[in-house]
């Protein structure tokens, strides 16, 4: 490792623009002639649209156009789709209800977009939006997934009887039932995973520009995957063919999953730009974001975990109802299935597992992947159940876990996944040591003297990242392949551009990807530029989510670098009159191994482009492309320990210690990895203590601003103690597993295990707010 190479704690290259206010986000973009859009959204959770009257709005000052869903449909713009097919256990395909980018006959959640208004200024667009008159016939709404399945519940889509989208299963029901029947002990739990709003700090935005002369569209959008956006908008929404549509995702202010999907607004802004003849920009305000961004989680499950006389888990049976909201968002179907139930083996050797998952329409915002996506739900379910089981069995939670750990690899679970490498005992040991687990009893006694209830809880998580082998996901229903692409362009002076299909929206790719190039060729990272986020520059890519940019995105770069290296070595061998096999790259030069004969990197690059003296038959230039398709998922894992102090008078929980011991495989930049873990833990603690999206029975979102939805703030959190003990991933060239989601996956059960330990109750609902904790303490002491 050099000072800028793989493993170095390099400060980020991209920071300069962000700390000086020079970042360029979608809302910062200005195009000549650009006008502003506002959407009229449904105030009702479920209603028929009887009439839309736009006359008054059209007459308002500054208004350029007021457009409806009927016009959109007439122009052939298609419905939004879910891109991952799931079949029910009876073989029938999932029931996908129609989702028009602008509703024209029925609205299905509060915030459903109905009309777009384009005006000279944002203020005028909003004023005119208020003047649009829509007559609705209100229908009964249902927001709770369990209730939506009941007979007589409001029917949301004609395609989905009883609001059931699919009824899916995985694993061996018979073997699992038999294990439960034969068990010495069975732990049974009801597990609720609360609905969350991702809340990237940059609200979603879109700027659509139709160029009449070229018959060409450009869309600036807050996307984690601009190429997927272009593909879907071309292939399914009929916005424009791919060669006539450029999608640019410039600086994007956080995503956490919520900016994977293609939403109605970007489609409508592009279409409206053509209709009105002006570039159209829309920027969500925060309440619009709460209403219309895809939400996360919202599972209700029952679980049975069976143990033999040696406290070994013999079976796990899970039944889950997942709320998918009013429409099926782009990847909504895979979250509660292949990203969830396939992780139900956790870190444990379990012979028999069966999970049944029903997904349900409700009159709420669509639900899709949010940081972790399915894996937090699996981890929460398993790790809460393990904790409860340890208490019921009267054994140490740490030792119960250790006894059941998978210890040899590869390990085939009963739910598809084939774990390639890991050392779960090492993470557990590391976390217990750092947290001084053994000294907890003393600390608890000291807290008790102050009148405080102290508790400790752990969570041993596993996740599947590096999503994923294209053939495998294809066989499971994915509509896309999940490879990644890279192009490495060496310039004639030796500087390098790396074009990647990954997209950075906080992850620091401009630094870490450059570190990889530095490691390979010795070129300073300032001489390496990472190009991403523009479909005109990068040919194709699948974007950034599921902690895939290291394991998949960088593997593609590595593969392209291999090709560049091979050609550079051929040129160097020719120039040095040496054998190609003897050339090594050291300190920015290509050398004949074991001699002082060398040619500097930039001279090799120059030679490639002057082409005066190349090996016979070699094409000029030094530029290579690679597509990398992963051979397996990767399996980051770790152990988190949380220690809390609760004031029984107020129910306030203070996190006095939070320890993370992760196994991420090889690490490019430890500083950035730690930052990812910190952020993930904060979101996980947010889920456990503070956050929850609440709809009232009529479908109004009660938590639609930062006045109502509790975001974690600095004062809610401690500093974290994070460390890694890594087993390299054998499945990709760099040995990377991925680190982006671990914190959000592993932390909620650790927090809730600590709280229930502190106050001596079997369970408590998330978010464990002061009032919830206070009520639980009161109920327990009655």
């Amino acid at each position: 490792m050099g000072i800028e190479g793989v493993g170095a704690r390099v400060a980020r290259k991209e920071d300069k623009r962000f700390i000086t206010g020079a970042g360029r986000y979608v809302d910062d973009m200005v195009v000549p002639g650009m006008k502003h859009a506002a959407f009229v959204r449904s105030p009702h959770a479920h209603a028929q649209i009887k009439k839309i009257d736009v006359k008054k709005a059209q007459a308002m000052p500054g208004v350029i156009g007021v457009l409806t869903g009927k016009e959109l449909k007439a122009d052939g713009i298609g419905n939004l789709i879910c891109g991952w097919m799931i079949h029910s256990k009876d073989g029938s395909p999932m029931k996908m209800g129609a989702w028009s980018p602008l509703a024209f006959d029925k609205v299905r959640y509060v915030g459903d977009a109905v009309v777009i208004v384009v005006a000279e200024t944002k203020g005028q667009a909003r004023d005119a939006a208020e003047a649009v008159e829509i007559t609705y016939k209100e229908l009964k709404a249902v927001v709770d997934a369990t209730k939506a399945l009941e007979k007589g519940a409001p029917q949301i889509h004609p395609e989905a009887e009883n609001n059931l989208i699919f009824d899916w299963e995985i694993g061996d029901a018979k073997a699992t039932d038999a294990a439960i029947k034969a068990a010495v002990h069975v732990t049974r739990m009801k597990i609720v995973n609360n609905r969350l709003v991702p809340n990237a700090m940059e609200p979603r935005a879109a700027l659509g520009h139709y160029d009449k002369a070229e018959d060409h569209y450009t869309c600036w959008t807050t996307s984690q995957n601009p190429h997927v956006a272009r593909l879907v908008m071309s292939a399914f929404y009929n916005v424009a063919p791919e060669n006539k549509l450029r999608v640019i995702a410039p600086d994007v202010g956080g995503g956490f999953g919520s900016k994977i999907y293609i939403y109605p607004e970007e489609i409508v802004c592009l279409w409206a730009s053509k209709k009105t003849g002006v570039p159209v920009k829309w920027v969500a305000d925060r309440t619009e974001s709460f209403l219309s961004d895809a939400h996360g989680r919202d599972h209700v499950s029952t679980v049975e975990m069976a143990f033999d006389k040696n406290n070994r888990i013999t079976g796990l049976k899970v039944d889950t109802i997942a709320n998918l909201g009013a429409y099926m968002s782009l990847f909504s179907s895979c979250v509660p299935t292949y990203l969830y139930a396939t992780l139900l083996s956790g870190q444990y050797d379990i012979a028999a597992i069966h999970a049944n998952v029903r997904t349900v329409y409700t009159n709420t915002a669509p639900v899709d992947a949010y940081r972790g996506a399915g894996r937090p739900e699996a981890t929460y379910l398993l790790e809460r159940t393990m904790e409860a089981a340890a208490r019921e069995l009267g054994v140490s939670p740490a030792e119960l876990r250790r006894k059941n750990f998978i210890t040899s690899f590869p390990h085939q679970t009963p739910v598809i996944m084939n774990y390639d490498a890991g050392d779960y005992g090492a993470s557990l040991d590391a976390a217990m040591k750092t947290s001084d687990y053994a000294g907890f009893a003393k600390r608890k006694a000291a807290a008790a003297k102050k009148g405080l209830l102290r508790g400790i809880g752990m969570s041993c998580y596993i996740e599947a990242c590096g999503i994923a082998p294209s053939a495998a996901v294809g066989s499971l229903g994915a509509g896309v392949g999940l490879w990644e692409s890279a192009e490495v362009r060496v310039n004639a002076v030796g500087t390098i551009e790396v074009l990647t299909g990954s997209h950075s929206h906080g992850q620091g790719h401009e630094t870490t990807f450059a570190q990889l190039v530095n490691e390979r060729f010795g070129v300073p990272i300032d001489s390496v530029s990472i190009v991403h986020g523009d479909t005109d520059k990068v040919q194709m890519g699948m974007g950034t989510y599921g902690s895939r940019s290291g394991a998949v995105g960088m593997s593609a770069i590595s593969k392209a670098l291999d090709k560049v290296e091979a050609k550079a070595k051929k040129i160097a061998a020719h120039l040095l009159e040496a054998d190609e096999g003897d050339i090594v790259i050291e300190n920015g030069a290509l050398k004949v191994a074991g001699t002082d004969k060398n040619v500097p990197w930039f001279q090799v690059a120059l030679a490639a482009y002057t082409a005066h003296n190349l090996p016979a038959g070699m094409e000029p230039g030094l530029k290579e492309t690679a597509f990398y398709d992963p051979s397996n998922f990767t399996f980051p894992a770790g152990c988190y320990i949380c220690e809390v102090e609760i004031d029984p008078e107020t129910g306030t929980t203070e996190i006095v210690q939070f320890v993370a011991a992760d196994d991420f495989g090889n690490i490019i930049n430890p500083m950035i990895v730690e930052g990812q873990v910190h952020g993930g833990i904060a979101q996980g603690i947010g889920q456990a203590l503070l956050e929850g999206a609440h709809y009232d029975a009529s479908g109004q979102l009660l938590t639609a601003s930062y006045m109502d939805y509790t975001m974690p703030r600095a004062g809610d959190l401690p500093s974290f103690q994070v460390s890694t003990s890594n087993t390299p991933c054998p499945g990709n060239p760099l040995g990377i597993k991925g680190c982006g989601e671990a914190g959000a996956i592993g932390s909620p059960p650790a927090v809730i295990n600590a709280i229930t330990d502190a106050i001596g109750v079997a369970d408590i609902a998330m978010p464990a707010s002061p009032s919830t904790v206070w009520a639980a303490i009161r109920a327990a002491t009655k």
């Binding site: 400060a11 980020r12 991209e14 920071d15 300069k16 623009r17 962000f18 700390i19 000086t20 206010g21 020079a22 970042g23 360029r24 986000y25 809302d27 910062d28 203020g123 809340n199 990237a200 700090m201 940059e202 609200p203 600086d251 994007v252 202010g253 956080g254 956490f256 920027v283 305000d285 925060r286 309440t287 929206h505 906080g506 992850q507 620091g508 500083m671 950035i672 730690e674 930052g675 910190h678 952020g679 993930g680 833990i681 904060a682 979101q683 601003s705 930062y706 006045m707 975001m711 974690p712 703030r713 600095a714 004062g715 959190l717 500093s719 974290f720 914190g743």
Partner: protein, 167 residues
């Protein structure tokens, strides 16, 4: 419409703005200073913090006309030419930012916080005083670290300046 005239980042600027125009929109749209961000509509997130007459202010909670006659410093005006302000430098060194969206507001809040605490800062104070700024990426860990480091750097700088003056 009203005439708005103010000093921004050392330059006198003026323009006409609708009465309802917020300071943040005047900065972003009239002056093109897009470093100041809008992250919420309820003055909760702090992405829009600027300094007005030397104090940290959420520029979404002030009308442009109210700021007329004031001196405003935005994130674009914090560095001294090519030299980063110590708070900017500390955010970079300690990885106190990820997506960068909350960062301008964080840095402006932190600068004000450090200025108000010449006696120095501790972690509890920093966390308490960050109450008005939300970050979704960093978990605050490295932001707190950066502010504590910048506070020390700035105290040293102030001590050096004082010694120089005395000499």
């Amino acid at each position: 419409m009203s005439d708005v005239s103010l000093m921004v980042n050392g330059r006198r600027v003026s323009g006409a703005a609708e009465d309802r125009t917020l300071l943040v929109h005047f900065l972003r749209e009239n002056l093109g200073l897009t470093g100041t961000h809008v992250g919420c509509d309820t003055s909760q997130c702090g992405a829009c913090v600027v300094h007005v007459d030397g104090k940290a202010v959420k520029s979404c909670s002030m009308l442009a006309v109210q700021a007329s006659g004031s001196t405003v410093v935005t994130i674009e005006g914090l560095a001294n030419g090519a030299d980063l302000h110590p708070v900017q430098a500390a955010f970079k060194e300690h990885h106190g930012l990820q997506c960068g969206f909350c960062t301008p507001g964080m840095i402006m809040t932190a600068t004000d916080m450090i200025n108000r605490h010449p006696e120095g800062l501790d972690e509890a104070t920093v966390r308490a005083e960050l109450e008005g700024n939300i970050c979704r990426c960093t978990g605050y860990h490295n932001i707190v670290k950066a502010i504590l480091a910048a506070s020390k750097t700035m105290a040293k700088g102030a001590a050096r300046a004082k010694a120089k003056q005395a000499a």
